[in-house]
């Protein structure tokens, strides 16, 4: 099927690749279908693009690539609603925010857990004081809008 996206234009996606989020993302509860765009293996960054809202997309990463010790504990109920039969079926994704200061952060407090077998996913809010919503993963080079002054010799 074809979907419209603000960033990528019209793209072709397979219907069976649609990720279903029955509760949506917090703040975007009405948007329940996404597609994970990850066809660039040379970058850690992927896109979670809304199927039904061209303008809505999240940059996501696998948090383990940046924080190898990151761990989350799902309640029985959370595992049950995701229909997880085995922990290996769970895929973790965390959203990325590019701050106005150039800092690129990821939200370890509210990870997205996806069942790789069923492509059902939910955003989980952890009850874990170790994790916040802005963990720095890299810093972008500053782009100065003002012309640089010549340095004194």
């Amino acid at each position: 099927m074809r979907i419209g996206t603000t960033r990528f234009g019209t793209i072709e996606i397979a219907e069976e690749s649609i990720v279903h989020m029955p509760d949506g993302m917090l703040g975007f509860e009405s948007v329940k279908r996404f597609v994970l765009l990850e066809d660039r293996p040379d970058t850690a960054f992927k896109w979670l693009q809304a199927v039904d809202d061209p303008a809505l997309a999240f940059i996501v990463v696998n948090p383990m690539e940046f924080f190898p010790d990151y761990e989350i504990e799902l309640s029985d109920k959370q595992a049950e609603t995701l229909d997880l039969e085995d922990p290996s079926e769970a895929v973790m994704l965390t959203t990325v925010t590019i701050g106005s200061d150039g800092r690129v952060t990821t939200n370890l407090l509210g990870p997205i857990v996806m069942n790789s077998r069923t492509l059902q996913a939910r955003q989980i809010v952890l009850q874990d004081d170790r994790y916040g919503s802005k963990h720095v993963i890299c810093e972008l080079p500053r782009v100065d809008s003002q012309p640089r002054q010549a340095e004194a010799a």
Partner: protein, 79 residues
Amino acid sequence: MLILSRKIGQHIVIGGGIEITVVDVRGEQVRLGITAPRSVAVHRKELLEQVTAENIEAAASALNGNNVLGEMMPTRKTK
């Protein structure tokens, strides 16, 4: 809003199966014990608000193109 006064060790029951117990009160901090069915999500409100705010910020920053990350991003065009 219904406001009830409770002492340490006393409970509030909400509907069928949700019970809140005042465990301890120290200064400005109240410790609550919550028993609820597994189908009921219990969250500290400020954490929900924090994740909601971060989602909104993440979506906005992803939409603001022309950032360096954009060049690292996947591109997929209609065949």
